[in-house]
Structure formats: structure tokens, C-alpha cells
Amino acid sequence: MSAQSANQLLATPLNALHRGLGARMIAFAGYDMPLRYAAGILDEHRHTRDSCGLFDISHMGQAIIRGSNAARALEALVPSDIQEMGAGSQRYTLLTNDDGGIRDNLMVSNMGDHLFLVVNAARKADDFAHLAAALPSDCRLEVLEDRALLALQGPRSAEVLARFCPAVRHMPFMNCEIMRTLDVQCRVSRSGFTGEDGFELSVPAGMADELARQLLNEPEVRPAGLGARDTLRLEAGLCLYGNDLDATVTPIEAGLAWTIPERRREDGGFPGAATIRRQLAEGPARRRVGLRIEGRAPARAGAAILRPGGTRAGTVTSGGFGPSVGHPLAMGYVAADLAAPGTRLTVDLRGRPMKAWVTELPFVPARYFRS
């Protein structure tokens, strides 16, 4: 990358740390982000599954919504249950559009007196404009510009983080609380994007470098970049917005019907409810599936998925090599009649047909913390 284009990118508060660690930087969603460090994606991936990886995800959007009707107001924009979330609980949900497509996927936490949102970097400008326009006047959206977001992921992360913040040890999965870390108030959630136990820490930008350095000083912790974040989430069967989800894909097609509880299915009252309820009743025309591809050549996003006879069945939306499973894997959308695990398909790899079959997701079983 030329120096000029690097200058046009935004830097997270950890940019100097990444460069000092010898990271290979890439442009991602307008930010100068670490793709990998000296160890490389395979090592960073395996170390996160075995021990603990530290990821900078400060490019993601953070915001809070205040107002006594905040939960009810947000429910008008997402199909999940927000009003019945207890204080301290966190939920994965989707901003939908009028056609039932997905504007973004996000995390919402009930922090007691406000809702805390974490959204995708590439979608944050659009999301926040949408929220600001759609929320009623008794709700206030406050975009948190001066915060970093660190993800500590892997089976040793609770043990490591407890040295800084003892209360995390017994924190339930998908909870989010305000805790003191390095004498500063931080929003700590027990969640992540790797399929492992782990935490995300929303911290003031000014303390991010110090906290990251202290965490990296712990013997279990190694830095991990966006490359490992992608292979980890793919093995965990988690959707990446822009690849596996977009404005043309509905939650039902994406296999995310579990984000829509009974009350919301019955009452509707969110964008695209008619389409989504129809697909719930009749089944969607296509579904997201996991694919195992024969051999060692990875299929990448955009590769055509074909029926055994050679007619088009769908498209790969994420694909690569799974370091923990040791073979290529992919996710994509196929016609609903082909979505059953075990279905034989073909993936077109640069003009060469490769045998593939539908597999259960996730590829690697999740190891989230159970209290």
C-alpha cells in the first residue's frame, strides 16, 4: 500500500502498537488494521483456540441509546426481544429493511439505564443515520467516538482477564457489565466472534494502548489479526456482514430465525415483518449452508455452487481454509431443496468442478462459557 492511501485511512488507538509488533496492515472498512502479526494467521488462529488471542476491533461502531422507551423503540427496528432483556444481558440481533433484508447484524446490551450497541465498521455510518432518523424524540442516540474495543478470545481468557478484573470469572456468557479495569470504568461483555469463550472490552481510547500492552504481557496472550478473526468465525459458522449477510438476505434465509422470538413472530412490528413471517410459515427459497469441499483447494466468496447435473444451485459467500479442521470449508446460499446436511453438490473452482457436500454448522463446536 502506498503511503498516500495509508494516510487516508483511519487509525485505531492501537495503531502504533500494531506497527511496533510488526503487523502486516491492510485497509479494512476505511481503517488501517492488522491482518496478521509475525506469527501468521495459522498460529494466531490455533493460539486463540488453545489459549488466548487479543484482537483490536476498535473499528467497529459503538453507540448508546438513552430514554425510558429505548428498548421499545429499538424493537421497531429489529425482530428480537429487547424489552424483556434483563439488566446486564446482551443479545445478537439484526437491523432489517422493509423487504426483510438485513441492514446489519449487531450486539445490543441492556446496561440498566441505557442500551449499548456494537455494530459493524463498514455499516456504522449508515446504521447510526438510520437509528437517529428512526428513533422517536424521547430516545437519544449517542455515538461513542472516543472508545476502543478489544476482544480477548480463547479458553484462557477468563483466567487472564480476572487478573485485571476479578468479577469476570463468574460472568455469564452474553452478559455485559460496567467494570473497573486498570482503575477505569469499562463495558465488559462475555462474547465474541470466534466460537470460544472470551470477552469484548469497550474502553476509553486513551487507555486502550496501556490495557492492550498489559494483556499482551500475560504469558497466555498473543496478538491476533483480522485474518485469524475471519478463519475463527468461519469455523464457528458465524456470519460476516457483507459476505454472508446483506440487504437482500433475510434472517430466515440466513438461518437466523432463532433471533426472532415467538412474541415478535406473532405481533410483527419490525421492518420486513410481512416477508419474514411469510418465510417462517412457508420456508424460504434459499438457505445458508456449510460446505465441505473435497481436496485441499479452498473455495472463495463468489464461487458458483452447482447441482449434480451442473445447473446453478447458489453461491459461496465465505470460504477458506479452516486451520483447526485442517481442510477447506465454506458457507454459501443454496436452493432450499439442497440445504439438508449430506447433500452432494459441486463448487466451481476457477473453472474446475470440485465435489462438495452440505455439512452442519458450526464446523468447530462452540465452547462458550456455561455457568
Binding site: 502486516r24 491482518l35 494467521i41 495459522l42 478463519t231 483447494a297 472463495r300 477447506p328
Partner: protein
């Protein structure tokens, strides 16, 4: 006597007894990161200067490898099928990709020698 020449696309070709052994440079493997698969050409396949000869899949992405000169494939490095990481560990030796005939013996003269290549790489950073 063997000569090693380098292309601007970061392939090296070692010329031994009129045939060429081709791989990617250490600089190239470092840029690609962990290699997980190498799609090698068929033995006998014709190669044209600058046209795709192989594909390297790193964890992150697929990258095309171009023929540094024209000729035909006479052998491929089967070891890469079992252990693609040879490309990372030994890019300019055990991680070679294929062996080829050289249609025009003077064509490699147009490629860079080691010093010129190292200077070229210096200019990229």
C-alpha cells in the same frame, strides 16, 4: 553452471542445463502469509510468459503465479501437495513449484539478476 533470474511478479527461475526450475521468492511468500494449497500445472502444459502457471492459496486469498518465460512443464513439486508450507519455509529451494523447458534460450536474459531484484523489492516498500 546454474543461473537464477527473477521476474517483477516475484517468481524466480533457476536455469540448469537448459531447463528452468520455477518458484516464488522469499519476499513473495512473506507477503502471502501461510500457504495452504498450491494448484500446480499439469505436466506437459504449455506456458506463456506472463500467463497464469499456478495458483497459491494462502489462508487469506488466492494469488496467481505467472510463467517467467515461455516453455512447457516437465515436472511439478509433488511435495507441495502434502506440505504446502514448504513455500513459506523454503521458498527459493525446497518450495519450488515446477520444472519447465525454455522455448527461447535467450528469454531469461530479459529478467532481473539477484541484485537487481533485491533493489526492485527495496523500491516497493
Amino acid at each position: 553452471m546454474t543461473t537464477v533470474k527473477y521476474s517483477k511478479d516475484h517468481e524466480w527461475i533457476r536455469i540448469e542445463n537448459g531447463e528452468g526450475v520455477v518458484g516464488i521468492t522469499d519476499y513473495a511468500q512473506a507477503q502471502l502469509g501461510d500457504v495452504v494449497f498450491v494448484d500446480l500445472p499439469e505436466i506437459g502444459a504449455g506456458l506463456k510468459t506472463g500467463a497464469e502457471a499456478a495458483v497459491v492459496e494462502s489462508v487469506k486469498a488466492a494469488s496467481e503465479i505467472y510463467a517467467p518465460v515461455s516453455g512447457a512443464v516437465t515436472a511439478v513439486n509433488e511435495s507441495l501437495n502434502d506440505d504446502p508450507s514448504l513455500v513459506n519455509d523454503s521458498a527459493e529451494d525446497a518450495g519450488w513449484f515446477f520444472r519447465m523447458t525454455i522455448a527461447d534460450a535467450s528469454e531469461p536474459d530479459g529478467l532481473m539478476d539477484r541484485d537487481a531484484y533485491l533493489e526492485y523489492v527495496e523500491g516497493l516498500s
